[in-house]
Amino acid sequence: MDIGSIIGRVQRGEHDAFASIVERYQSPLFGYLWRLGLDRSRAEDIAQETFVRAWRGLDGFRSERAAFSTWLFAIARNLAFDSLSTSARDPASVSVEDMPQATDLAHPGADPATRFEQGREFERLHAALRRLPVAERGALALAVIGGFPLAEVARIEGASLAAIKVRIHRGRARLRALLDDQADAAHGSGPETTEYDDDR
């Protein structure tokens, strides 16, 4: 069933139909929140709040103005950025227990050794993503990973197309540099030195 029909059913009062929307978008949304650098429990809280707010505001949603996914991810983006700015002011609010374990992130079908190695790679990637400026992280998460067209990324981020292109280009370059630093540090060739301000 297409998303327009499901939204129509929810708007006509069949709120059980909203479960199909949650099922369809939960994985992309969790993926997006992970790539924004959020830990598991905060990602779950924000994903829940995103869906509840979407349900509340569904009467006001107009498909001719924006795609549903754009609208949903814009809600998630605003909630996530609020949460990230709060944790930037209060780093103690992020607990070590909330961090994903290496093997949690790896492919579930792989053997234990491969899962551990994959999990370590994902941990490195997540650590590097968390050190990117939030604006670049957001654009990268939506465009490179979420598969949104750049025009939609610009709408979600509330920025111009040119600014989004710059953020993605810079974000990729910084991410590469951060990962190279991590690899160098892991091989004992020097400390991690690349550091960026966590601005919007």
Binding site: G13, H15, V22, F30, G31, Q48, V52, L58, L105, V144
Partner: protein, 99 residues
């Protein structure tokens, strides 16, 4: 954008917990129930599962009907007043002509 970095970016991520959909729907049910029981426009027999959005939609229609009724009454009253005025003017003119 097909290098190793993109490969890792595309694959990593939290998986939603298995009961995530149920949790979200439980919150929505609870919120819908709370809104239905506190909404003064809800009909007396409304059940806890009745969607408040449907109730709000009915209320909007009632408001629209009331607005249309108000405008019709104003237009009807205006037309009646105008016809009375015209009748008076015609009567005065007829009386003047007769004299």
């Amino acid at each position: 954008m097909t290098d190793e970095l993109d490969h890792w970016l595309a694959r990593g991520g939290h998986e939603p917990p298995p009961d995530f959909v149920a949790k979200v729907m439980a919150r929505i049910e609870a919120e819908a129930g709370a809104m239905a029981t506190t909404d003064p426009t809800a009909p007396a027999g409304a059940t806890i599962h009745e969607r408040p959005r449907a109730v709000a939609s009915n209320a909007r229609w009632a408001d629209r009907l009331r607005d249309v009724g108000t405008w019709l009454a104003l237009a009807g009253g205006g037309a009646l007043g105008l016809s009375q005025l015209l009748a008076f003017a015609f009567g005065a003119w007829a009386a003047g002509v007769a004299n």
